[in-house]
């Protein structure tokens, strides 16, 4: 039989996770590609190497089974003739993951909303085909060249589901309360993880990290009530995320489609928010004016805020509102009323 060789050329590393490193690749047909690579590790037993290879093969099979516009596509698997390497070749998402965006600060609510709805489409298909993702988080949501959000990293995906439940697992800060009590995963634990993800995307890493880590408080119950919200995150967003983070699984939306219908009611507002040590600033362009809202921290107890309208091209700026000094809670209440 003809001894065929792959045209795949593996380039630089673009990310790495639990189950291997991802490199950029080229094969002359679908360039560029994302290539998840596994190499046999020195000292690893044949059994361990075989188990890791099987894991990657299963990941590829799950991606294929879940093929959908909002799930990263898998193309093929390559194995070395010497059995010391295996590569899973996938669609390359040039927009990267939401992880870097999230670390840079709060992401505009309208962009999060669009991604959330697209992820719901992908997640609904995944669930309909009898799988659970178990690792929904900012780093596993990717953007393609057209800005379409896709679910990636199927390393934790399982189809071993009995009566709607599988063995629990995933990123520790995204585990639902029932993981701690019963060590289980379900459609609704994926929705919980999506709830934490949406909260994180809307608030950015700095804000999220200033609160307690979910892993240390979720098992106490009432996690949703402990969340601090940025004032521009409206009532409907809060309601959706609180619903996703209900302690009792039955109180959460029944599935990703039900969640998508709730998201349809959320206003896609385009407030850009930047947080620094002593100032939080929001900006938004409305027709020919840019509205800039600033919350100043004078000291730990004293805050003030103002809203100013600037011309995008020519014209005069106009102060819409300027508050006196006040405590944070009052400033937050006033800002919420302003943004609502």
């Amino acid at each position: 039989m003809t001894n065929l060789q792959s045209t795949l050329v593996v380039g630089e590393e673009i990310s790495h996770g639990h189950f291997g490193r991802v490199h950029i690749g080229h094969d002359g047909i679908r360039d560029p590609l994302a290539v998840k690579v596994l190499f046999a590790i020195e000292g690893e037993t044949p059994h361990q190497w075989s188990a890791r290879k099987t894991g990657l093969l299963q990941e590829g099979a799950s991606l294929e089974k879940a093929r959908h516009r909002n799930i990263v596509a898998v193309h093929y698997l390559c194995a070395s003739a010497t059995d010391d390497a295996i590569h899973l070749v996938m669609e390359y998402c040039s927009g990267g993951s939401f992880d870097a965006l999230y670390k840079a600060g709060p992401i505009r609510p309208d962009l999060v909303l669009k991604a959330a709805r697209e992820i719901c489409h992908g997640l609904a298909a995944l669930h309909d085909r009898g799988m659970l993702h178990r690792d929904i988080k900012p780093g596993n949501i990717l953007l393609d060249a057209n800005g379409v959000a896709k679910i990636g990293d199927f390393g934790f995906v399982t189809d071993e589901i009995i009566e709607g439940y599988a063995i629990g697992g995933g990123y520790r800060d995204h585990l639902a309360p029932e993981f701690y009590s019963d060590r289980i995963s379900s459609v609704r634990t994926d929705l919980w993880a999506l709830g934490v993800t949406l909260y994180r995307l809307l608030h950015g890493h700095h804000w999220y990290a200033s609160g307690p880590a979910p892993r240390s408080v979720v098992q106490n119950g009432g996690y949703a009530d402990t969340l601090e919200w940025l004032p521009h995150i409206g009532k409907k967003w809060r309601r959706v995320i609180r619903n996703l983070l209900k302690d009792a699984p039955d109180d959460r939306p029944t599935d990703a489609r039900a969640l998508n219908r709730l998201l349809a009611d959320v206003e896609p507002l385009n407030w850009h928010c930047e947080i620094s040590e002593d100032r939080t600033q929001w900006s938004r362009v409305v027709k020919s004016r840019e509205i800039v809202v600033t919350l100043e921290k004078h000291n730990g107890r004293s805050f003030s805020w103002n809203a100013v309208s600037y011309p995008v091209t020519t014209g005069k700026s106009k102060t819409l509102y300027a508050s006196g000094k006040m405590g944070y809670r009052q400033a937050e209440r006033e800002l919420r009323a302003y943004f609502d």
Partner: protein
């Protein structure tokens, strides 16, 4: 054996969907799901894209074989307004999305009245006994009867 149908009505910025299994032999139609999908607020093209994907994905993943959509009709009460045209746009989105996945037909209420039974469509829709006799499975919301009736009128039962 049965065929999975989706009956749909569009009104304003939302659409009602009734997903039902129609048995090949005699017997009641079994309602699998009855739900409403609302158009996303804000920019309409983006909202239409999300709406179309939601509808097409549902039909694809649930194995819908045929769809019946209540068609547009000329308003009998005054001039058509922008809201009528926008609802018609949304109806087009639904029809296109379903037709990309399964056999899709439109039917107007007037056509249902002409071709189904010996009463007007609205009389059937108000008749609780008729619904209890012909439909089984999940409870049907009162506002969803029109969508279910589109199936009944098209499935030749």
């Amino acid at each position: 054996m049965s065929t999975r149908w989706l009956g749909t009505t569009v009104s304003g910025d939302k659409a009602v969907f009734v997903d039902a299994s129609v048995p090949d032999d005699d017997g009641p139609i079994v309602v699998n799901a009855d739900f409403t999908v609302k158009l996303q607020k804000g920019d309409r093209p983006t909202a239409y894209a999300a709406f179309a994907q939601e509808v097409a994905d549902y039909a694809q993943e649930k194995g819908i074989a045929r769809a019946a959509v209540k068609g547009s009709a000329v308003s009998q009460q005054g001039k058509p307004t922008l809201a009528h045209f926008e609802a018609a746009e949304l109806r087009g989105v639904v029809i296109g999305a379903l037709a990309s996945v399964c056999g899709t037909e439109t039917i107007t209420k007037a056509a249902i009245s002409r071709h189904y039974g010996d009463r007007k469509a609205d009389e059937y829709i108000k008749d609780d006994g008729f619904w209890a006799e012909n439909f089984d499975g999940q409870d049907l919301r009162a506002g969803s009867r029109e969508a279910a009736f589109c199936i009944l009128a098209k499935c030749s039962k």
